[in-house]
Symmetry: C3
Subunit: 456 residues, 3 copies
């Protein structure tokens, strides 16, 4: 008698069945409650999760494009669209040429993997429990997300090519190196009990789907860029006044937010990395539920605080509230209860309401609010992990946040500075005033709309 | 010899294999035609269906947002976007806090479940054949759909907060209570042969994916709201003239319709509630096909009738034709043949062409046409079920339509009236004329477009 | 001892297990490495692939709608939206009424299948390894894609109804007939070694997902239409000048491109036609990766060449570069290495940069660039197959390209000519100048935007 399947995580059960095979009576009992998904079916399920979650996260690239196109002034919309499609293309190439292996190939408790392109085995000869190419695809779209975050903050005042070169470095080295530290099983994630992080912080650093690894990373790179670039011409007046520069297309910004919300089910759900067992499928489902509750909490808290403090409900606050809730739950979307998810996301929404005006007071010009949403809510979400996850400590979380923050900021600063010194980052004042669409793209986004008089 | 899998719906076969185990010859024969999907694989497939269909239906929230943003005038677009993102958030919270258990927990042939939040078992300890959280997610997005329907009809003339409070009541009580009657196994769906509905009507009420439970429910709530609110300022002149108030952005309305069409594959396909067997996977596929044919029929009939009666093809009629076809097939997307699906959907399209002008004659101001599309085509689709489904009777269908219609209308009326008496529903005429975007949101949707002169 | 599953493509292994059943020791060894997905699970996986890939390709219809709505002038946007939703509806009906069986029913090495509607077996009684309805759905959206391609090229100057009638013929006969030649196992794909194509060309014609069958087919039909219709009024001046007619909404065009990019994972990935085995799941994944790299290559090459030759980066070139990369990899997305995919897609992007101005010099007015993207990059991709696929020959590829190109062009010409002679193709100059939205649809796309003065 054979037990012809390798049972998922249940060798004991398989053994039991094997023995039972000599005794039809026992076997009959066992037949009433067999468990487990056949191993090759698991492979297909896991691969399917990577592909489905991957295309949902890929779709987030469109979400960022629409959000940003809606939030910039009409004279810079074509530029913003160009940046977004180009950054997704560049991320896809660089994460194949370098990024994936830098992040995952032989990190082994250290700081960096190998500087080689990702090669893909012939179909069917993949080792492991999923297809290598599906994993690459899933990881690649995460990398692209980090790049998308940068493009929003520094919109309307950076030239195309230096931005794209920054993206190339971000997606081939900066993002993958810090990613290696945790997801590549580097020094922040060493499994050994004697590892530095466990000895010092009592646990490894925990970041389920990337509140820090993806969102804060994008946020730090954006913040450094914004500081170095300075604000858009005319944004902050000489006497401290803040000149509003309203986005040109609110339904597009809304569409972008809905796309991101949708994509986030892939972002967080796919980060379970498997759905070939009952446990994994159940976990992915719980992540969907928690992710949605956190986003909902972010919206509701943001609009309530808005109404309370300003007497109106600013749509962009509602949108960013949703996104901040999503970023906040990303560090741990599995262990919180529904109520905890609501609270974690709600506090993300609160961060946005208070941080957006604060940044303006500090004269940090963040066109789409990416710093509050991705950096600050990302830090909050990462810090919140120990509240619901016994395997996490505040010390370890802070070590992760600070080390990654420092690395990404310094590395980004170096790259931004090199670009500034060589090709320059900022277009001329005339070009900026006239709009980057005409200056750099040669194509207006809405050539027939508007009399021009309302345009800033 | 053991039969180690619990065969889907085929204990006899499993038993046969078990016996065959003692006889290799027999077993070899059996091996040629084994059937069935292992039980845990079924769990994963079913859960996957809920998650995939769920995210498609979640995406419909964006579809409604875009459809409505395109169909309102530009001065109310930010408001419409705010409402749509906020209603989806509120639905997500209320359907966790109350709605789900009101609809599904212990209804047992009655009228209402329990007034408790939905709790989720630890991953892997879900009983049943799918993950509880995936089911919650799938049901939640249905509830949100009902709320989305309301927001379109009463657009451009209702204040934000009373609308959102109505949504909170709709998604926590009104929708779940009537949902309990059928999908929660309440009095409209009692399986017992001695139940009232079977005795009186010869069959239980049939509504596969919610022509009545979701679409008409949203439609009734919208109709009552529209009647109580009255028309937009200036819509109907003193001498009976009807002033067109064209939507501000047709490609957005088109995008919204395509999103809804896409999402409907999840709406109807997911309502099979399982795809872990050959039969279920085949049924889901057939539903996809029928759903598409009904939408296509709706479009083609609508544009042909438009050309015939008006000499032009109004894009909004084509869009609403698609939606009406989709709503009509929703009550029974599985049993009709392709040809029947085409006819059921096509008649949905015809309803739109005749009902839209009729509503205007009755001075019922339905901004997006949600009453013809969701209420009337929903009734049509529900009535059409007995044409193709032997398990349905016209009497039972009418009982369901009328009882749900009455309950939702009266409940909605009470809530709308309470809101009117307390906080008021309608903004001032000045605010309505100036646009809700400036009045309530403080943010124009398109600050740079238009000279303002063409605006109504 | 029984081997109770029919192993995927591994009867030898199944036999081994069967024999091993008499020897527990051997069986135990076999248990360590059992392979294969149970046959009914394969059915569900395959069906799921068709449904998921199908809804992604269905979503491409929205992508074309947005791309085209963004690329035409605002006076023709409602018309373009109407065409796109109507063509998808008509394709869905005609491909059921005729197209599917023309393409697949009993072609048997010949030129055409049967002129009958597609009937669907009762759920669960489908023969084969997937649900018949899921296959129909998947094939239908491919057919609709071909129609979508046509609508872009000949935009802004064709009347609604002749266009829709052309779509009806294209989707019921023209597309299915040429499709039958290859995918319907017709004369271009005969498996027999003595078949004409193998004897003459050394291999059957290879077109994995339709560079030629879908994209060039749409492109040829569009080209013939464009030649017959002539250019838009005022596009080409009397002294050879080319008057730019910029698209009215660049973020919509960008959105459309992102939608298409997303949908292409379904287009190419689904064309593996199965994912119920480890090998197939792995192949689908590799196709995702290659598809993304080709699109990325198309973007990067297009923007680099743009910068080099024109000193600016035209957004529409970046968008069309992505699409050309996608079209190019479509003929063979599985066998190329990642690097080859990048190169094949990159050359697609180069084709766009050079072919768009060339068409203008030839006074072929292609509003969205569909001829470079779908026809020329489709030919390139089809020719590139032998570079990475040993089973292909250049001769066979050329035979396929030419025979399909000739058939589609001649058939399209006949239909276009018949339509021209009967109902006429082109609106009056007054209607064209005033815009088709007012002339044929009776509804402006953006009634409140613009002063009108900038409009051409």
């Amino acid at each position: 008698m054979t037990s012809i399947w390798k049972w998922s995580g249940s060798l004991a059960l398989a053994g039991g069945l094997f023995l039972a095979g000599n005794d039809p009576g026992l076997a009959q009992d066992a037949a009433a409650a067999p468990k487990g998904v056949p191993i090759d079916s698991q492979y297909v399920f896991n691969t399917l999760l990577f592909l489905i979650a991957g295309f949902l996260v890929m779709w987030m690239a469109a979400g960022f494009a629409m959000l940003e196109a809606g939030m910039v002034r009409s004279k810079n919309v074509s530029m913003q669209c160009t940046k977004n499609i180009a950054l997704f293309a560049i991320a896809g190439i660089m994460y194949w040429a370098l990024g994936y292996n830098v992040m995952y190939d032989g990190v082994d408790g250290g700081f960096i993997g190998s500087l080689t392109p990702k090669s893909i085995p012939e179909p069917g000869s993949d080792p492991g429990s999923y297809s290598a190419a599906s994993d690459w695809f899933f990881q690649m779209v995460f990398c692209a997300t980090a790049a998308s975050i940068v493009s929003g903050t520094i919109a309307e005042r950076i030239k195309l090519w230096p931005f794209l070169i920054f993206v190339a470095v971000l997606t081939s080295l900066i993002y993958p190196i810090q990613g290696a530290w945790k997801w590549g099983a580097g020094w922040l994630a060493s499994g050994a009990d004697t590892s530095w992080i466990k000895t010092f912080a009592g646990a490894e650093f925990q970041d389920f789907a990337g509140s820090t690894l993806v969102h804060s990373t994008g946020g730090w790179a954006a913040l450094v860029g914004a500081l170095l670039l300075g604000a858009r011409a005319g944004k902050y007046g000489p006497n401290g006044q803040i000149n509003p520069m309203p986005g040109s297309n609110m339904p597009l910004a809304t569409l972008g937010t809905f796309i991101l919300w949708l994509g986030w089910f892939g972002f967080n759900g796919g980060s379970q990395l498997a759905m070939g067992t009952l446990e994994d499928a159940s976990a992915v489902s719980r992540i969907f539920m928690n992710t949605n509750l956190a986003a909902a909490g972010g919206v509701v808290v943001a609009i309530m605080l808005n109404q309370l403090f300003y007497g109106k409900v600013d749509l962009t606050m509602a949108l960013n509230g949703a996104l901040a809730g999503l970023v906040a739950i990303t560090a741990e979307p599995l262990t919180p209860s529904p109520l905890w998810s609501l609270i974690i996301g709600g506090l993300g929404g609160a961060i946005v309401v208070f941080a957006v005006p604060l940044l303006d007071k500090l004269k940090i010009d963040d066109v789409v609010g990416a710093i509050p949403v991705h950096l600050l809510a990302g830090i909050w979400g990462t810090l919140a992990v120990p509240l619901t996850n016994d395997g996490a400590t505040f010390t370890a979380q802070i070590v992760g946040i600070v080390s990654i923050g420092l690395f990404v900021s310094v590395a980004s600063l170096v790259v931004w500075l090199l670009l500034k010194m060589t090709m320059g980052l900022r277009p001329s004042v005339e070009m900026e005033t006239g709009g980057l669409d005409i200056g750099e793209i040669g194509l207006e986004a809405y050539p027939e709309f508007g009399s021009g008089s309302q345009r800033i």
